[in-house]
């Protein structure tokens, strides 16, 4: 069986998945040190539910620890960056639009040297090796141990980044090096930003992985374990140690993947109602629809794609005011079980209204018996309008799609919705997140810019080569090769290019390779990235 664990802000949830069925689920409070909550959740499963640790094939953990470290500027490593591309781009050095406190937190030092490529892969100019050595010296003198190397158009031609990385490793063997093309496609600043945030997590990543490893070992779990990635797939430990930024959006993604699994529907709108906010997302072929606009993390625009999720300030703890005409944005949040009327508190919340309307059986209903019927009606209508409007903004066509409701706050919903067809509240909807973790697969991606004519003439061969590259990437992340299938092929035509060029991106997904070896196997240990 597989265990899926979701470390949320309030609860740490764990579910067991056996032969495609959720066989048990448990909730424990999230601990300040994260692994304490994980330990407690697993102990519950092993002791109370009498699950044998030996029966667990894989543990998959969804955590926002790395995201929180960036957002809270906590425990970040000092980072430097060397960009090749001058004289182009010197008008906009790395980190230009970053919040000042984050630049301070990572002690960001930027160097710009000659080099880089054009859109068609030709050099802008030769890589300036003498300048590169001086830049490395300056970063070393500043005591920086984590270095990002970036080059203009490196997703089209990575050779300058590769040469820079090799030179940094040669000159400073104790340093960790992140080439930007490993963390994004076209879009120099966003790609650099992702690589910089990633490098800033170089100290935390091995610590987090080691502490999860310790918990599992202590409890006698010796199977491989994985962390959840932005796109609803998993990363093995080497991948997380190398690219911790890829875990940033795992929260909303897991709830959508879990909704798809629990409902058996692969094209739907998913609403996850929590205590303070509601996330609305779209499932397409079982995976969350990804955002086409640039996303921000901790005030920084990053280049990788994240699920397209609309968050609105509506949750079980939202304050109900103005005779039911105003819901939120303030919420009692995790204090719901002390402050809401039905729990003996003195604050009128959305949960109280739902209980008063008979839509939910939590707390003490007699404590809301005095509420005015018109207030209840106004509040529930207002909640309906808020959800309808959010659903509508996430849809891409008039076509009626089913709606899947997950999260603890789904009791707020008074059906039917004006804007959707069937509404599904699947069993175990309140642990959809952990289910999403348990069912996660492994993905690999590859992209390349081609002369469009070549695609017309030899498109199959080009696609085959890209698919092979994506498959190798997936295998490195722990996928079983035989299970890989192509889930997405994207063509983007580049305007004003001669000859006309097209960027092609291929994504493959497959099952976790459970034969990859036990946790104790050194192959599945994170590589140490800092000393």
């Amino acid at each position: 069986m597989r265990l899926g664990i979701d470390v949320g802000g309030t609860n740490t949830d764990v579910v067991a998945l056996d032969h495609g069925r959720v066989t048990l689920c448990r909730k424990v409070p999230t601990s300040a040190d994260i692994e304490g909550g994980v330990r407690q959740a697993l102990q519950t499963v092993f002791h109370r539910d009498r699950v044998s640790a030996a029966d667990v094939d894989a543990v998959i953990i969804g955590t926002t620890q790395f995201l929180n470290a960036i957002v809270q500027r906590r425990g970040l490593a000092r980072v430097g960056i060397i960009r090749a591309g001058a004289p182009t781009g010197t008008s906009l050095p790395p980190m230009t639009d970053w919040p000042e406190d984050l630049v301070q937190a990572i002690g960001g030092k930027a160097e710009m040297i000659r080099g880089g490529h054009r859109y068609d892969g030709r050099e802008l100019g030769p890589l300036d090796r003498a300048e590169l050595d001086r830049a490395i010296d300056r970063l070393a003198a500043a005591g920086i141990r984590n270095i990002v190397v970036s080059a203009v158009h490196s997703p089209v031609n990575p050779v300058h980044e590769e040469e820079m990385a090799a030179q940094v490793r040669r000159r400073l063997p104790e340093c960790a090096v992140s080439p930007s093309h490993e963390l994004g496609g076209l879009g120099l600043l966003e790609r650099e930003n992702a690589a910089l945030l990633n490098a800033a997590l170089a100290d935390i990543a091995p610590r987090v992985l080691a502490s999860f490893g310790t918990v599992l070992t202590e409890l006698g779990v010796h199977c491989p374990y994985f962390l959840c990635a932005n796109d609803g797939t998993t990363l093995n430990l080497q991948s997380v140690a190398r690219h911790p930024v890829l875990t940033f959006a795992s929260g909303p993604t897991n709830s959508m993947r879990g909704a798809a699994f629990l409902s058996g529907v692969s094209n739907a709108i998913v609403i996850d109602i929590g205590g303070t906010t509601t996330d609305v997302g779209v499932l397409r072929n079982g995976f969350p629809r990804l955002s086409n606009t640039v996303v921000e993390v901790g005030g920084v625009r990053v280049g990788f794609r994240m699920p397209d999720v609309l968050s609105i300030a509506l949750g079980g703890g939202s304050l109900v005011q103005n005779a039911g005409h105003a819901i939120g944005p303030l919420s009692v949040g995790y204090r719901l079980i002390e402050e809401a009327l039905v729990f003996g508190g003195s604050v009128l919340t959305a949960t109280d209204v739902a209980v008063a309307a008979g839509a939910a059986g939590v707390g003490d209903r007699s404590r809301v018996a005095h509420l005015d019927a018109s207030l209840i009606d106004s509040a529930l209508s207002r909640i309906g309008v808020m959800l309808d409007s959010a659903i509508d903004r996430m849809r891409t066509s008039e076509q009626s799609v089913p709606l899947v409701l997950v999260g603890g706050g789904s009791i707020l919903v008074r059906r039917p919705f004006a804007s959707v067809g069937e509404v599904i509240t699947p069993p175990n909807a309140d642990v959809a997140n952990a289910v999403g973790a348990a069912v996660a697969q492994v993905a690999g991606e590859a992209e390349q810019v081609f002369v469009s004519r070549i695609l017309t003439e030899e498109g199959d061969a080009a696609l085959e080569e890209l698919t092979a590259r994506a498959s190798r990437a997936a295998a490195r992340r722990g996928a079983a090769a035989a299970t890989l299938r192509v889930v997405d092929v994207e063509h983007i035509h580049l305007s004003y290019t001669a000859p006309p060029m097209t960027r092609v991106r291929v994504k493959v997904v497959g099952d976790i390779d459970l034969a990859a070896g036990p946790l104790a196997d050194s192959a599945n240990r994170p590589r140490s990235t800092a000393t």
């Binding site: 182009t88 230009t96 054009r118 203009v152 158009h153 879009g187 120099l188 903004r393 004003y496 001669a498």
Partner: protein, 363 residues
């Protein structure tokens, strides 16, 4: 000297320029940062009203053209335009005294500020369109007889090409072809003008106007339904015509494709409630014609502008998505475009539609 532009002015200026871009002009995020940084580094840029230009001035239009995707990687050098200006002056045999923007909307509203800061030149408060249009012969300068050349352009590596072309159409064709050869982005200096020519041909006051409209869009509360009077107050007494709210509704359909380097397509809006017919907008980079049901309600060169209904943020054509709640507001074109000479270039018929210019109906 009337005033100077400081780094803190750029945000509102970009926001307003995006609004006047009438759907076109593209994303301005990078150029906003570049302009703020350039002004912080080299000092504030003096802004000169057309009537203040000294008689012996030589004013030059400066702007960029290029592929948006290439522009994600290939960013300008720090001393953008300094070397081009030196070579261009040698080509002209004269010193350039002022720079002017070719259009309002997107990066080209601030490119002159970036170049002016590095070259320590003042910028004219005005531009060559008062909105955005896709091609350079659609600028007011050539429409009223200013020759586009002598001109010079550079890639971001210092390669320079000089032009002397027979007319504005030829200049447009050649620069467009050069963009692809020169790495996907180029910076051009063209339309050298005297003070009198600027006063006669430029749409005046537009940078100041963009900044004040930008501030209004940022600060306005109460949604786009109440935006028109605030805009009208800014536009009163300028080259622009009336402000006419056209529609408020939800984006119901967007179709778009790339055709000959342009973003071509159609947007359909549906009213939130009631039986109002849908609003259909044809776009070709910019919003060019709007129909309410079967009736034409706005056409180029009048500005068809779109803002998000709650936030009043301008929406450019590439950012439109199904389900967005928007308000569409028409603004009478700068008077320069409403003459026979102007309409000959930018009327709907000249932009590929089988209809003539129809002024905005005022209630």
């Amino acid at each position: 000297m009337s005033r100077e532009l400081h780094p803190e002015d750029i945000g509102d200026l970009c926001l307003g320029a995006a609004y006047f871009g009438a759907g076109g002009g593209g994303d301005v995020h990078f150029y906003r940062l570049i302009a703020e940084r350039a002004i912080r580094r080299w000092g504030p840029v003096p802004l000169v009203r057309p009537e203040e230009i000294p008689e012996d001035a030589l004013v030059v239009d400066v702007g960029e053209s290029g592929s948006p995707i290439v522009g994600l990687e290939h960013l300008p050098p720090e001393n953008h335009g300094v070397e081009l200006l030196r070579r261009y002056e040698r080509f002209l045999g004269r010193k350039v005294t002022h720079l002017i923007a070719c259009e309002l909307g997107g990066a080209n509203s601030v490119v002159p500020l970036v170049v002016a800061a590095a070259c320590r030149l003042p910028v004219i408060d005005g531009d060559g369109m008062g909105r955005a249009f896709p091609e350079s012969q659609m600028m007011t300068f050539p429409i009223y007889g200013v020759a586009p050349t002598p001109a010079a352009c550079t890639d971001f590596l210092g390669n320079v090409v000089y032009f002397e072309t027979s007319d504005a159409h030829e200049y447009e064709r050649e620069t467009r072809a050069l963009v692809t050869v020169m790495g996907g982005s180029l910076l051009a200096m063209d339309h050298p003008m005297t003070a009198a020519q600027v006063r006669e041909t430029a749409v005046p006051g537009t940078l100041t106007l963009a900044q004040s409209v930008g501030r209004t869009l940022r600060e306005h509360r109460g949604g786009a339904d109440t935006l028109a009077p605030a805009l009208a107050a800014h536009l009163h007494g300028t080259a622009y015509g009336a402000v006419v709210p056209l529609y408020t509704g939800k984006v119901e359909r967007v179709s778009r494709r790339t055709e000959g380097g342009f973003d071509v397509g159609e947007v359909m809006l549906r009213a939130f409630e009631g039986a109002a017919p849908p609003l259909r907008i044809a776009l070709r980079n910019e919003f060019l014609v709007a129909w309410l049901g079967d009736t034409v309600v706005a056409t180029t060169p009048d500005l068809i502008t779109m803002v998000e209904q709650e936030s009043c943020q301008p929406i450019t054509s590439e950012r439109i998505r199904y389900g967005q709640r928007v308000s569409v507001i028409g603004i009478g074109a700068p008077r320069h475009y409403l003459t026979e000479r102007g309409l000959r270039v930018v009327s709907p018929r000249n932009m590929g539609f089988d209809l003539d210019y129809r002024p905005l109906a005022q209630e």
